[in-house]
């Protein structure tokens, strides 16, 4: 059965405002060489989805640049491939833009033409910040086998109150049929099934939902569509058991990034046979370590020159760490330069930052010190 993909690139833009000031959530850099959307795109490609529409609203320059023709995901294809779906503003209806942070349902309205022109029977919809390696093929099989109208991917997760308030909690019966759904509950803790914000449904079903939502002025997929239809539609919960990073804030971004230093996490995310994670190819040379370098418990991409000390850190492509510099417990994004004798601790450096010689910056793991893109410190 053929399946097409839809990815929402802007839905969680307000979660990490520091990192999404100049970019979509989809293009937030993650894990030395990736962007958030790479995980979702790779999950789709690895499951045989060969046409993907990415719904964008604003700030999508970096995303356009990252995706390019889609060839790095083998999505440069005449039959489908990857298409960016920008917002549908017209010269006659300037006010058609409903809100600055549109919901999934609102963004889907601008994609109806795209969706209706696809030929696939099923559609898989996913948020862009789903850091996991899920076999969507298996989820689609489950969807078909159970005769579901809509299938939601869920993961059993132990939540703090802060995390629960940023997640959709799914409750289901013993047959995995969803019977309740809590939207961003307050004061909830403990182990619950959270929604991964990945859904499978018939393409025609999706079009009907969008039409109905327009007519009724519905805006939320979870509150207006799922909750209202718990009895009239068969909504199933597909339980995913692999690794999932739930990134709802800068401190969670920091914590989840640091989890990548754990070999088991890397194995669960990158080490699954035939399910690699693709990203934009940059043609960086291998990373060069010079004679005085000292690196421990760190993950580094290609293209760096390391002459100083790096410990417990995530180093993106093209970073320079000069001699005598010390980078500890930090995330340093693409092409940043750490000057001689400088010292970083619990810092998140966005792209292209220059830390001058002997500068000392320190944050705390609960409140990492964030340095915006292109800053000179």
């Amino acid at each position: 059965m053929s399946v097409t993909g839809i990815i929402f690139s802007n839905v969680h833009d307000s979660n990490i405002p520091e990192l999404t000031r100049l970019r979509t959530t989809a293009s937030v850099p993650y894990g030395c060489r990736y962007r958030f959307i790479d995980f979702t795109l790779s999950n789709m490609v690895n499951s045989g989805v060969t046409s993907v529409g990415i719904i964008t609203q604003e700030n999508y320059q970096s995303l356009t640049d990252h995706i390019g023709t889609g060839k790095d995901w083998d999505l440069a294809s005449r039959a489908g491939g990857v298409k960016l779906i920008p917002p549908n503003f017209t010269a006659f209806a300037q006010n058609s833009r409903q809100s600055t942070a549109p919901t999934r349902l609102e963004s889907l309205k601008s994609a109806t033409v795209y969706i209706s022109r696809r030929k696939e029977e099923l559609v898989v919809l996913s948020d862009c910040d789903v850091i996991c390696n899920v076999d969507l093929g298996d989820m689609i099989e489950f969807h078909k086998k159970t005769g579901a109208d809509i299938t939601l991917a869920t993961k059993k997760t132990v939540l703090s109150a802060e995390q629960a308030a940023k997640n959709i909690i799914i409750r289901s019966d013993k047959d995995a049929r969803v019977n309740d759904l809590l939207v961003y509950p307050k004061d909830l803790t403990g182990e619950h099934d959270i929604s991964l914000n990945i859904m499978v449904m018939g393409r025609q079903r999706l079009l009907d939902i969008i039409t109905d939502a327009s007519a009724h002025g519905y805006t939320s997929f979870n509150s207006d569509v799922i909750l209202r239809n718990l009895h009239s539609l068969k909504i199933m919960s597909y339980s995913y058991e692999g690794y999932f990073a739930c990134v709802g804030s800068l401190s969670e971004y920091f914590a989840c990034s640091m989890q990548l230093l754990d070999p088991d996490v890397r194995k669960a995310l990158f080490g699954i046979k035939n399910r690699p994670v693709y990203t934009k190819i940059r043609n960086s040379p291998p990373t060069r370590y010079t004679a005085g370098s000292f690196v421990s418990n760190s993950l580094l991409a290609d293209g760096c020159v390391i002459s100083g000390t790096v410990e417990n850190s995530i180093i993106f492509r093209g970073v320079t760490v000069r001699s005598g510099a010390v980078v500890r417990n930090s995330i340093v994004m693409q092409d940043s330069v750490i000057g001689a004798g400088a010292s970083l601790n619990c810092a998140v450096l966005d792209k292209n930052v220059v830390i001058k010689d002997n500068v000392v910056l320190s944050g705390h793991e609960s409140l990492p010190f964030y340095v915006p893109k292109n800053s000179i410190v």
């Binding site: 894990g31 030395c32 060489r33 060839k71 230093l261 070999p263 890397r266 995310l269 990158f270 690699p276 994670v277 693709y278 190819i281 043609n283 960086s284 040379p285 291998p286 990373t287 060069r288 370590y289 010079t290 004679a291 005085g292 370098s293 000292f294 690196v295 421990s296 418990n297 760190s298 993950l299 580094l300 991409a301 290609d302 293209g303 020159v305 002459s307 790096v310 180093i315």
Partner: protein
């Protein structure tokens, strides 16, 4: 509708490269891995693209599978063009028979039909076994300015080594008056780099004459260039300054890899201009463990380092176990060095499993010879492979 190209490059990639031993057992020399994430041919292909040449014929003959797959449609080098791009040119059958490529000149001669399809003014002849970054468009400009029939790129080599090369003796303006192949007493230090630019008409004329000569070995250096000089053709030497290395031997391949490391490497791959492109494997970032130690080395994506790596080049997906020490070595893709093993002054091909506490090779400081292990070998725990071993002497499983 064919479009004219100003210059078409013809890249000679059919050589066996027997002095690379096991490395070219199943792979043509241009497809031999180099520098952590490249293959030798990436340098010439990237030079073409960076010089504005978008039509490249790659002449293949020996063990082509790896090379064919690697080049594919040319997409990594932006050579997947609607018109032009990179084309693989193996020997083929024609109405009057089928012939292997008998020499460098004959390989081009057999493919003049390919060249003619693009109606170029110039043909650039390249070999796929050198490591260098060069702007061919500058050489082409020189060729046009001199009004030359043929321009040969030359590089200054130390006088003591000049007798290993084809040496060009030139007038002060660069005009070549004599060519000597490996002269015992060299008159100059201008060594041919095996890079030629010909006017298309001139090339066709001399290749036809060469083909008609039954005693010719059909080689550019040995036959065509001397014949052109003898007949009074206008031939110029284009002086190239910069890094250039023939990687035809195990020793020179090792040296060229070592030239990439250090504070100021002899060949800096990180400069933004004239980038080298390659076909990328999909691997996660590399990881250095808590007790890992890496100094003066190149490490590529997918590596996991729990031991020590010094003065070495590691390709993608190499694993170095805790307590293992890799020094002065080049380790190709997916090779695994287990806990406590020592690898010194060696080249290890792809997917080798080096067992625990093995000792491969001996330190450079002891004046050891290079050790070479071929692809897919397994070396049992605790085995000692003496310095200077070439894996062709060993079985696939060393016990």
């Amino acid at each position: 509708m064919l479009q004219k190209k100003e210059c078409v490059a013809m890249l000679l990639a059919g050589g066996q490269g027997s002095r690379l031993y096991n490395l070219t057992e199943k792979t043509a020399k241009p497809a031999v891995p180099f520098g952590g994430k490249y293959r030798i041919i990436d340098f010439t292909l990237s030079n073409c693209v960076n010089s504005g040449i978008d039509t490249v014929g790659v002449l293949t003959q020996y063990q082509p599978y790896v090379l064919n797959e690697y080049i594919g449609n040319g997409q990594p080098w932006d050579l997947d063009k609607t018109y032009g791009g990179v084309k693989l040119l193996p020997p083929y059958q024609r109405s009057n028979g089928a012939y292997w490529y008998r020499g460098t000149a004959n390989a081009i001669y057999q493919n003049l039909g390919f060249v003619e399809r693009y109606d170029p003014d110039y043909v650039l002849i390249l070999s796929g076994d050198h490591i260098y970054k060069m702007d061919y468009s500058d050489m082409l400009r020189y060729h046009r300015e001199k009004g030359a029939d043929c321009t040969i790129a030359v590089i200054d080599v130390p006088l003591a080594e000049a007798s290993r090369f084809g040496i060009m003796n030139t007038e002060p303006d660069g005009k070549i008056y004599e060519f000597e192949e490996k002269p015992p007493v060299p008159k100059s230090t201008k060594a041919s780099m095996g890079i030629y630019i010909f006017g298309t008409g001139v090339l066709k004329k001399y290749l036809a004459e060469d083909d008609a000569n039954p005693s010719s070995a059909n080689d550019f250096g040995k036959n065509v260039i001397p014949a052109m000089l003898a007949s009074g053709a206008k031939m110029y030497a284009y002086p190239f300054t910069g890094y250039w290395k023939d990687v035809g031997t195990v020793q020179s391949l090792w040296e060229a890899n070592m030239d990439l490391i250090g504070e100021h490497p002899a060949l800096d791959l990180r400069t933004p201009e004239r980038r080298i492109f390659s076909r990328n494997a999909t691997r996660p970032p590399h990881f250095i463990g808590r007790d890992g130690k890496v100094e003066n080395s190149l490490i590529t994506e997918g590596c996991e380092i729990y031991g020590t790596v010094i003065n070495s080049v590691l390709f993608g997906g190499v694993k170095v176990g805790a307590g293992a020490v890799v020094s002065d070595s080049v380790i190709f893709e997916e090779t695994e060095i287990s806990e406590g093993a020592t690898v010194d002054h060696s080249i290890l091909d792809c997917r080798i499993k080096v067992g625990k506490n093995c000792v491969i090779g001996a330190p450079v400081s002891e004046g050891s010879a290079i050790t070479l292990l071929g692809a897919d070998m397994t070396v049992d725990d605790g085995v000692k492979v003496p310095a200077g071993t070439m894996s062709s002497d060993l079985s696939k499983e060393v016990k």
